[in-house]
């Protein structure tokens, strides 16, 4: 069996008396989409932050590509190959759509201390920025100010910026949120192909997308993983129905 690309072991995080992450262990294998679901307040976003490096864990380790990245911060983990998208779009709003993806390509190269040649005339960076926009279907919006994008388009731009990082693992926090039915369906198809490029740890509320995409699903309730398994296993799991899907929804 191959080694997991991402391995969380016994992660904990408390905010005062609230245990937001309670001994969470899970893995992400090459080529898979591992969905993380759970009711509101279950600690999904906290866990994503612990993985991305924005939040220090109280205990436990995060191993990434065979390396312990627990002591590293956001920047070092991004450089190591973690490509994150945010639940609430986190973009440079004054910039054009293209400038945001060019920033991503620039971050991937890390060669930021260049002071003279215009960045938007750097063919290599701009081409990669454009390519990422084309993949998510935003190429025709390239020259638009990011602040003028619709909510759904911003979600796609988040994904496009993550693509420019050419990450080894994608961490996606509710990429479908606010996309609408057709947009959500398109993105589902896109993520389906994307897993071949790099595995995805996917936090998502859209159950249709989760059940269509996920190789494995982990259910998080009150900071604890109460079940991990395939879509069918999760649908059949009694504890999951009880806690999350709703006991009466047993059809």
């Amino acid at each position: 069996m191959t080694d997991p690309l991402l391995k969380l072991s016994d992660l904990n995080k408390s905010f005062g008396a609230l245990k937001a992450t309670d001994n969470v262990s899970l893995t992400l294998m090459p080529g898979e989409i591992h969905a993380l679901i759970g009711p509101n307040g279950a600690g999904k976003s906290t866990l994503i932050k612990q993985v991305a490096g924005g939040l220090r864990s109280d205990s436990g380790t995060v191993e990434f590509a065979g390396r312990d990245v627990t002591p590293l911060g956001t920047v070092a983990r991004a450089r190591a190959g973690l490509g994150r998208t945010f639940q609430i779009s986190s973009l440079a709003m004054e910039y054009t759509v293209l400038q945001n993806t060019v920033l991503g390509a620039l971050g991937h190269d890390g060669a930021v201390m260049r002071f003279f040649r215009p960045v938007m005339k750097d063919r290599a960076l701009v081409d990669r920025g454009m390519a990422a926009l084309e993949r998510v279907g935003l190429a025709d919006q390239a020259a638009k100010r990011t602040a003028d994008l619709s909510h759904g388009q911003r979600r796609l731009l988040e994904v496009a910026v993550a693509l420019t990082l050419e990450p080894k693992v994608f961490l996606m926090d509710e990429p479908m949120a606010g996309l609408g039915a057709s947009g959500s369906k398109r993105l589902t198809g896109f993520l389906d192909d994307l897993r071949a490029q790099a595995p995805i740890l996917l936090v998502e509320h859209d159950m249709d997308a989760v059940f269509a995409l996920a190789d494995r699903i982990s259910v998080l309730v009150y900071g604890q993983v109460i079940a991990t398994g395939t879509a069918d296993e999760i649908k059949r799991d009694a504890a999951v129905r009880e806690a999350y899907l709703g006991a009466e929804d047993a059809a």
Binding site: A92, L98, V161
Partner: protein
């Protein structure tokens, strides 16, 4: 040509046209005013790199302005009294060479910016403003209490420093030097804003989390910007001291920091030519209103209030509209 480019061309031309007209009409005082505007604009261009591009509201840029001024004052005063700065372990003598003085001013200001920035950039918002202010005031009181270089009275230099091939005491020639430096720095600052560094710096102002997520460190980018910003303002300080042939602790005071900030805000925060517009307007007001009333700064205050409340983009933003992000 966009409206802003057109406006920039006019702003760029205003100072030399004024100076040349004054030269033709034999009004050396007006030339000196234009020179002063060019030098203050340069200080503002420096601050604008930190404030406009980086969103770093430094209330301590007088520190760099003053260091540049004292670099000039100390080197030139030793040269005019024929006493070396130090003899052991090796000899350092004063100099009247403007180019050497500029080099020293830039390096001194850059090193100070590195130290001040490394400490203060760990904070944000009001704390950053207060810490930079505190550093500026520290240098101010240090300059006052250091009798070797004039203390509170400052230092007078009898003859302006030398520039190869030019008579620096001739107002129009000194204007040409100051404006030449401003033009070169404006060109460099314009390139910087559009370069990869500028993209990342401005992105860090808009959304630091985004910059971290693409694997870049906002702190490092901001620190480099702060050093460049301080170095430019330091260069302006050396020129300003040379213009007046005088340097005093006032250059370090928080009033100076405030004035440099006013140039940037009046002209347009983050606009390349904002400080040029702001400094020119400031000098114009000081000269015209100052002749009418001692309390001309009341009107300046009202104008600033108007800009902050109703015209956030400053003079350039009001005339040229929102910045075009794409090019």
């Amino acid at each position: 040509m966009t409206r802003e480019t057109f406006l920039n061309v006019i702003l760029f031309a205003i100072l030399p046209v004024t100076a040349l007209a004054a030269f033709a009409l034999d009004e050396p005082f007006i030339i000196t005013l234009a020179t002063k505007a060019a030098i203050l604009a340069l200080a503002g261009v420096g601050l604008n790199i930190a404030l406009g591009l980086g969103g770093l509201v430094s209330f301590g840029h007088a520190a760099f302005f003053g260091l540049g001024g004292y670099a000039m004052g100390i080197l030139a005063s030793h040269a005019q009294s024929y006493t070396p700065l130090m003899e052991t372990p090796f000899l350092i003598e004063g100099t009247k060479s403007m180019l050497v003085i500029w080099g020293v001013a830039i390096i001194a200001a850059a090193l100070a910016a590195l130290a001040i920035g490394a400490l203060s950039l760990r904070t944000t918002g009001v704390y950053f403003i207060m810490i930079t202010l505190a550093f500026g005031q520290m240098l101010y009181y240090f300059a006052i209490s250091w009798p070797a270089y004039g203390g509170e009275d400052g230092l007078s230099i009898y003859i302006r420093n030398d520039f190869p091939g030019l008579n620096t005491l001739d107002p129009i020639q000194f204007f040409a030097i100051a404006f030449g430096v401003l033009a070169i720095v404006l060109f460099g600052a314009g390139r910087l804003a559009k370069a990869p560094f500028g993209l990342a710096l401005s992105a860090a102002r808009q959304n630091a989390e985004r910059v971290e997520t693409v694997g870049l460190t906002p702190f490092r980018i901001r620190l480099v910007a702060f050093v460049i910003s301080g170095a430019v303002t330091g260069l302006a300080g050396a020129l300003f001291a040379d213009l007046n042939r005088f340097v005093s602790p006032t250059m370090f005071s928080w009033h100076t920091s405030g004035e440099i900030m006013i140039f940037v805000i009046l002209g347009g925060v983050g606009r390349l030519f904002g400080p040029v517009a702001g400094a020119a307007l400031f000098i114009l007001l000081e000269h015209t209103l100052g002749g009418i009333s001692e309390f001309w700064q009341v009107y300046l205050g009202l104008l600033l209030l108007g800009v902050v409340l109703f015209a956030r983009g400053g003079l350039i933003g009001t005339i040229a509209g929102r910045e075009v992000a794409h090019d």
